[in-house]
Amino acid sequence: MTTLMPSPTFGAGADGGPLLAVENLTVQFPTADGLVQAVSDLSYTVEQGKTLGIVGESGSGKSVSSMAVLGLHDAHSARIAGSIKVAGEEIVGADERTMRRLRGNTVAMIFQDALAALHPFKRIGKQLGEAYRVHHPDATKREARRRAIQMLDRVGIPQPDSRVDDFPHQFSGGMRQRAMIAMGLVNDPALLIADEPTTALDVTVQAQILDLLQDLQREFNSGIILITHDLGVVAEVADDVLVMYGGRGVEYGPCREILVHPQMPYTWGLLSSVPDVHADPNARMIPIPGNPPSLLDPPGGCPFHPRCAHVHKVPGDLCRTALPDLAPGPRGGGHLKRCHLVDPEQIYQAEVLPEIAPDLSEPGGEQ
């Protein structure tokens, strides 16, 4: 299946750099009401064959930052600063031709809600074939169709050679998402961005889709960015996790490290909001009070301080006046956190964990 030559832009490893390096990315939208600061000073990297989970509430800048990687923001309505390097190639400010060569080819995107994201009037096979032919101009229609059938088969669509002629509305929700994934992978992309690929699906189908993504990743050795608000999904598939809040990265590190030793109160809040069927029935789900901050007029200091229960533990009103850096925490190991708390680990173990997972917080219960 992967007999196609990797495209020449696929230079990851050649210079030893990561597949995707985002540095100090800022995305702003000027509007009639003022400047919307959708993403501020965001940095992360994705290595080949690895999965980065980006987690956060709606409006935290997850999708906006990923769409910037594809250059999908309208140049008139968005101001983009910073650097995005795909396989060493800078794409902030790159011309439309360069972007078109990358889109769907080196970097592909899978959108949430496949019913809306697939064209309702075009046959599935035609939409897949179109994605293939735009980057393989020499391919005939027949070859594109064969490729579409092959991809549908690969993502587990039954009877692909007849379903290829169906319209999206004739597919079930899970099949549509599979077709969407097939379309994303049709050109063997080096980087796949999956924007909440399982949000609209029921849990059994969710699990199948996640398994499929992992299988395909092993097969194609692609890097994956998985955008989600579901920490359960992240726990299952991510190698690294970036937690975003108010357009900024607030905690970043290896997946296990972040989930077991979270050091930022916002991440604690997210963990407290996850229901767990295996958990002790005494475990409580604690929602984060308040609403995500306005991106038009972000709060001063730490963007999370209006909702944070631990502000009083930081001396000198620091949370309201100074934006903490995204800096290595006390545990090291590439675990970055944006918080003024001096010993978050101690607070988490002593105050948060007993509430949300009593079984884990007992002495020696930590896994």
Partner: protein, 335 residues
């Protein structure tokens, strides 16, 4: 599909019958006798609303009989043809017989054969411009939404369409063909005889009618296009790496055209039904002018024929649009 078609054809037939019955009723129970015109012509204008001659003519034309039996005769004539006797003269009227004009005692169906191609030519030319100019400017405006181009296009369509149509038509005829010869003289030539003359003779009319009518298409296509440009599947198309043109035309316009097709079908039907102002001002002998002139003199068979054309066109266009819809949007199932 087949049952859909049968159902729609039956209901369409009922509508056409109701329209023709309504026209009959108007003439039978209207304040002015439809027999007056024929009576006047035969008596050198010595036939008034009270003269005994008029009674004779009303009797001869069947206006003393019950309306429904006269309607029955007319309907039978449409289906199988009939012989019409007015006084001592008998006229053979083969199917589809639409009666005999009271003005010149010729067969209405023969006249219709002369008038229909004129109106059809106008309608085809104008509606092509509706789509080309209207949808074209609408797409340009939608793609540059909020820009100066957009504002200029939208406000100019508003200004243009707020001028009365007959004024636009009259002024353009006066300035462009009579006081100057920028455009060739407006006249109708059969397309089958001389396509070039056909086109040059109607060029100005097409432009006037087409540009004036296209203004609503600009606004409609713009709205529809803005909506489809913000759809998720357009973003998907862009994310595939397709060219701007392929995204806008192949993906966004493809779906934006569906609602436009609906109003286009009806507009085309109304053009077929007769472009009254246009034909009157440019002196083109089409259905619209024919029907208007016939209304003045209560020429029932001609008025009946012109309303029949409009009713059939509207009903037919509606059925065609529904069928077209199911091809444009695969989610639509006809039933």
């Amino acid at each position: 599909m087949f049952t859909f078609l049968v159902k729609r054809l039956v209901s369409g037939f009922v509508i056409v019958v109701i329209v023709s019955l309504a026209v009959f009723t108007l003439f039978f129970y209207g304040p002015k006798s439809p027999a007056l015109e024929l009576c006047r012509r035969d008596t050198n204008n010595r036939c008034g609303p009270t003269s005994p001659k008029l009674k004779l003519y009303e009797e001869r034309l069947g206006y003393n009989n019950p309306m429904l039996s006269e309607y029955g005769k007319w309907a039978k004539g449409v289906a199988v043809g009939r012989t019409i006797t007015i006084g001592a003269t008998a006229y053979k009227c083969p199917a589809p017989c639409l009666g005999i004009s009271y003005r010149d005692r010729t067969l209405v169906s023969d006249q219709l054969k002369d008038k229909f191609p004129v109106t059809l030519s106008l309608a085809v030319g104008a509606s092509v411009l509706y789509l080309v100019i209207g949808v074209g400017t609408g797409v340009v405006a939608a793609r540059r939404r909020g820009s100066k181009t957009d504002k200029l296009l939208v406000s100019s369509t508003l200004v243009f369409s707020s001028i009365p149509y007959y004024l636009v038509a009259l002024l353009s005829m006066l300035t462009l063909t009579i006081s100057s010869d920028i455009f060739p003289k407006v006249e109708y030539h059969s397309f089958l005889h001389n396509p070039l003359k056909w086109a040059t003779g109607l060029l100005l009319v097409w432009l006037v009618l087409g540009i004036y009518g296209s203004t609503s298409y600009t606004r409609y296509a713009r709205g529809s296009m803005i909506e489809s440009l913000s759809e998720d599947y357009v973003r998907t198309a862009r994310a595939k790496g397709l060219s701007n043109r392929a995204v806008v035309v192949g993906h966004a316009l493809r779906s934006a055209l569906v609602p436009v097709a609906t109003i286009f079908g009806l507009d085309f039907a109304f053009l077929i039904g007769g472009t009254v102002f246009t034909e009157k001002i440019f002196q083109l002998e089409g259905i619209g002018k024919w029907g208007l002139d016939a209304t003045y003199i209560k020429d029932l068979p001609v008025v009946q024929a012109t309303s029949l054309v409009l009713a059939v066109a509207v009903v037919g266009a509606n059925i065609l649009v529904d069928i077209l819809y199911s091809f444009l949007d695969p989610r639509v199932r006809l039933s």
